[in-house]
Amino acid sequence: MNPVILYNNDTSANVPVEAPVERQFYPYADNGGTSLGIAGADFCLLASDTRKSSGYSIHSRYSPKAFKLTEKAVLATNGFAADGLALTKSLCQKLEWYKHAHDKEMSTPALAQMLSNTLYYKRFFPYYTFNLLGGIDDQGRGIVYSFDPVGSMGTELCRAGGSSAALIQPFLDNQVGLKNQQGAQQTPLSLESAIRITKDAFTSATERDIYTGDYLEIFIIRQEGVTVERFDLKKD
């Protein structure tokens, strides 16, 4: 059928559309995932699941978001994965420059401060990531730093971050911070206990949070260096 005949009664069909077409672009996404950090007396534990999702889709079952930055520090990034990767890349470059300039690796507290500065530098177009930095300080003590997307920083005994933060944090308060336990002695936490608590926390979070699951990577940072352990989580 001839379109001219079809539309020739409709005057608007013959007039070119001149109104500007509005399109919108949202520069962020939420890729889910959970991380957890526990500071021990002479070690630090930093764990993350490896699922990467968006809405109801799982993009990847093994897409790590925790990265070894130095021999004494590991960074876990939650939230928007692309920003997490870009941030990690930028930090690694800055660490490289630091090594060339000072002929030594950056200390963990300095790295934490640098991360805070890096995040704040993009205050008005932030890296949409909720970061946990785990490591050991100059005295060899375990330490966990947590950050918001614009660089507010805090040091903690234990901290959960990401999509299951609300599910895991009260459990950590109870089992690591020994909150609400009358007469409990705050004895130094052993690495074995920390790993057990971490596995418990993640298996529980996996049950109730669709954005957490697949695999669990546990980084253990000690004076001797960083080791990684991998465990299975449920894949449903």
Partner: protein, 204 residues
């Protein structure tokens, strides 16, 4: 802010071995301002059943009175106590009556039936029932409660262990919620008796 979060509050119920436990916080607030710290949200339905009503305080009061009325009427006409499962459906249909202008509460029912079998269930504000075998949570602290209950709960807990599990779950969860806490009440229902304890908590 959601109407369900206007006054704050949290409730959790768990199943144990021939027993159930239900606990709530005691805060009553108006958004972030705490008005009272003596506002429990759990009401006895029968000797072995409790209803927990977290949500909008005015509807908590209205519904607790309506349910008291309905439960008494049931007892008078049937000449027996209402079963927890029956009560769940009574609560559900009472809420669904107001499908398009709901009461802003998410009830939880916990009790032992006539054979002393544990029963718990949760509900949304229009009465969609969730029959759970392990635990149910509701209120402003659901995420934290889910996480901590999922980690601490295990099957076949004896009454005293169940009490400790519910208490620790509730306390540690509400300590991370600014809208809930300020004291807590726990009821443990066993075939022989109901154990009710008031817990001290952080007051911030």
């Amino acid at each position: 802010m959601s109407i369900l979060e206007y006054n704050g509050g949290a409730i959790v119920a768990m199943v144990g071995k021939n027993c159930v436990a239900i606990g709530s916080d005691k805060r009553f607030g108006v958004q972030l301002m705490t008005v009272s710290t003596e506002f429990p949200k759990i009401f006895p339905a029968t000797d072995k059943t409790f209803i927990g009503l977290p949500g909008l305080a005015t509807d908590i009061r209205t519904l607790s009175e309506r349910f008291r009325f309905k439960i008494n009427m049931y007892k008078l006409s049937e000449e027996r106590e209402i079963e927890p499962r029956t009560l769940a459906h009574l609560v559900s249909s009472t809420l669904y009556e107001r499908r398009f202008g709901p009461y802003f509460v998410e009830p939880i029912i916990a009790g032992l039936d006539k054979d002393n079998q544990p029963f718990i269930c949760g509900m949304d504000l229009i009465g969609c029932i969730n029959f759970a075998k392990d635990f149910v949570v509701a209120g402003t602290t659901t995420d934290s409660l889910f996480g901590v209950c999922e980690s601490l709960w295990e099957p076949d807990l004896e009454p005293e262990d169940l009490f400790e599990t519910v208490s620790q779950s509730l306390l540690n969860a509400v300590d991370r919620d600014s809208l809930a806490g300020w004291g807590a009440v726990i009821h443990v229902v066993t075939p022989e008796r109901v154990i009710t304890r008031t817990l001290k908590t952080r007051m911030d």
